[in-house]
């Protein structure tokens, strides 16, 4: 599903990623780990085209998104769900509106939007918070809303950039379990994290980055 070939990303004189080669298959659950500044976030940003590689190709579903024109980027992002460390929820809108926002722009009927939002909230266990504002929710709940928003359009790929970075261990575990359940439905999940406990607990494929290079790629690995 995802192929990175000789990907390099350079900011002025610093290499964020150096000659990265990577294959991720459809339906996989992958942890991207590494210390701060290792290049995890840059790698994630390349996947949702927030950054463009200095050189190399980033293929998603057979399309090299490194050359994707800017007007096609929204189409790409609608084909994937993205979860951020800081949730990125619209604070002045309800949980329902936050989740429904993107699918509303596609011209989907209100009836279908209701069904999809309800379904997504059911997956993350927040069916009773439909009309709450993000400020009325805990950090863990907000992150679950952001996961619901990411899956509401039924994407084949979910990218989570440090999803447990702002959460306590209990909430982190809940969030990771939800991501695992989503993966079991056939959705490819890529999670960047430096939460070693989670990585060790779930025993998924672990790709370790250091100074912009992949130094380890282990199936059912641990954080080392």
């Amino acid at each position: 599903m995802i192929q990175l070939r000789s990907v390099t990303k350079k900011y002025k004189n610093t290499y964020a990623l150096k000659n990265v080669n990577l294959d991720i298959l459809s339906g996989e659950f992958v942890f991207i780990v590494g210390s701060s500044g290792a290049g995890k976030s840059t790698l994630m940003k390349l996947l949702y085209k927030e950054e463009t590689p200095t050189s190399g190709t980033v293929m998603i579903g057979g399309i090299n998104i490194a050359n994707l024109p800017s007007d096609k980027v929204p189409n790409l992002r609608r084909c994937m769900g993205i979860v951020f460390q800081d949730y990125k929820l619209l604070q002045n809108q309800t949980v329902y509106d936050n989740i429904a926002y993107v699918i509303r722009t596609l011209g989907i009927s209100t009836k279908e939007i209701n069904a999809r939002v309800t379904g997504a909230l059911k997956v993350v266990g927040l069916s009773d918070k439909l009309h709450a504002k993000p400020s009325e929710l805990s950090g863990g709940e907000q992150q679950r809303v952001s996961i619901a928003r990411a899956i509401v359009n039924g994407p084949p790929l979910l990218i989570a950039d440090e999803p447990t970075g702002n959460l306590d261990p209990k909430n982190s575990m809940e969030v990771m379990q939800i991501l695992d359940q989503i993966n079991q439905r056939g959705i490819t999940v890529i999670v960047s994290t430096h939460d070693n406990a989670m990585v060790d607990y779930f025993r998924k494929r672990v790709i370790t980055l250091d100074k912009g290079e992949i130094i380890k790629d282990i199936q059912a690995g641990t954080y080392e």
Binding site: D71, P74, R77, K88, Y101, V102, R104, T105
Partner: protein, 302 residues
């Protein structure tokens, strides 16, 4: 009753292709986004609309005055004629036909020498001598600025003895026309700059206050045009409402100018009011949307 409504809704929906329904929903949602943005802009809306109305009033009033001045100049231009005095041997009809073929000539009228003589004798006392006057042609030209060109062409025709026209008056009318046209262009230019600047700054404020929200929308895959169109519509709407408010003072100016026309017995230009109102709305909407578009281009990376 409610059931009836539902049944009608279902029947209507059946006949609308699914793609059309989606497009209609998108249009509806974008429109609602626009109104939500305006609602969120709050009291600033009033300030912008008032300023837009003031600018468009000045534009409308000046444009309407320009049309009136132009019609006055045209009327004055219409009374300008070239008098062509013919040689005694020339055929008035032959020369008339040749002048009639010249570009910009609207009308050629023969004044026989007998008529000129009798008119002269009626106006002043002249001794009883043989008629010394030649046959004369009165040539009307379409625009004052073309009078000189026609004059020069007629001058070289055989059979023409002498010519005259109110050269100074023609020049003044031509100058007045030029001043009026330049003023109109200048006013349009100033209005464009003012409108675009005001809307540009307003939309910049809207973008700044919604920067985080727009960033989230962008990251979630909301189309660029879905983000842009409500902002452009907001600018256009300010122009439209500003123009609507400007109709009130403009009406006063129109009435005043109509009275001036009545006083001088010169009819007001045809469709002047409609032209001014349509142009004012067009300018308001176009420059409102334009200002918004420029702001988006400058401050929004979408």
């Amino acid at each position: 009753m409610n059931n009836n409504k539902q049944t009608i809704k279902k029947k209507v929906k059946k006949h609308i292709p699914k793609d059309w329904l989606s497009e209609l929903r998108i249009v509806y949602r974008i429109t609602m986004e626009t109104f939500n943005d305006i609602k969120r802009t709050g009291i600033v809306n009033l300030v912008i609309i008032t300023t837009m109305a003031a600018i468009l009033t000045i534009f409308g009033a000046l444009f309407r005055t320009t049309l009136s001045v132009s019609s006055f100049a045209h009327e004055l231009g219409n009374v300008l004629e070239i008098s062509v005095y013919l040689k005694p041997s020339a055929s008035a009809h032959a020369v008339k036909n040749r002048i009639g073929d010249i570009d910009h000539v609207e009308q050629v009228k023969i004044i026989p020498k007998e008529k000129s003589w009798s008119d002269l004798r009626r106006e002043m006392e002249v001794p009883d001598i043989e008629n010394p006057l030649p046959d004369t042609l009165h040539v009307k030209v379409d625009k004052p600025e073309n009078i000189n060109a026609v004059f020069n062409e007629v001058k070289h025709l055989s059979g023409v003895s002498d010519m005259s026209y109110a050269q100074e008056l023609a020049k003044k009318i031509q100058f007045l026309n030029q001043v009026v046209n330049t003023t109109t262009l200048f006013v349009v230019f100033i209005v464009a700059i003012l409108t675009i600047t005001i809307i540009n700054n307003t939309i910049q404020l809207v973008i700044q206050s919604r920067k985080e929200e727009i960033e989230i929308m962008r990251l979630m895959g909301v189309s660029n045009w879905y983000i842009k169109i409500p902002l452009i519509m907001q600018g256009a709407l300010y122009g439209f409402v500003g123009a609507a408010f400007a109709l009130i003072p403009l009406n006063v100016v129109q009435n005043l100018l109509n009275n001036v026309h009545k006083f001088f017995l010169i009819p007001p230009p045809l469709f002047a009011e409609n032209i001014v109102i349509t142009t004012m709305f067009f300018v308001g909407i176009l420059f409102g949307a334009g200002g918004s578009f420029l702001s988006i281009k400058k401050h929004l990376q979408v």
